[in-house]
Symmetry: C2
Subunit: 77 residues, 2 copies
């Protein structure tokens, strides 16, 4: 398990966001079940999200990131 601080990074795909969610959930010692409870969603959604499913709903993803303390910023490329 990598415990270093992530400068997190660029989100280009659902896979990227899935990795971030998985990492930050574990850093906070939450199980998928617990995170689903906090987010008032199902465990299926958390599993799908962490596994990079691209068709997850945008607002649900943002809510999870917010719960985990991850901020999302837009910049010009």
């Amino acid at each position: 398990m990598n415990r270093e601080i992530l400068p997190i990074g660029s989100i280009k795909s659902a896979k990227d966001v899935g990795e971030i969610v998985s990492r930050y959930r574990k850093m906070q010692e939450l199980t998928q079940v617990e995170l689903a409870g906090l987010a008032q969603t199902g465990t299926r959604f958390i599993s799908d999200l962490e596994n990079g499913k691209g068709t997850v709903q945008f607002d649900k993803v943002m809510h999870i990131l917010d719960l985990l303390g991850v901020e999302v910023v837009a910049k010009e490329r």
Copy 2:
């Protein structure tokens, strides 16, 4: 109409991303129809997205942002 450069900003919701898409699409003088064509999607999706619909699919949103030259970065809050 605000034409200043946006330091873009934090994305907390679908409404935020909708505003960014609308703004950057217009900055590049694209119509919704043209952007939909570039993204191989429908105009309904572009309209929904720009109007802040939260249930749009994550990967579709990311693809639109990429087309518009908007990078998305994750940071710790």
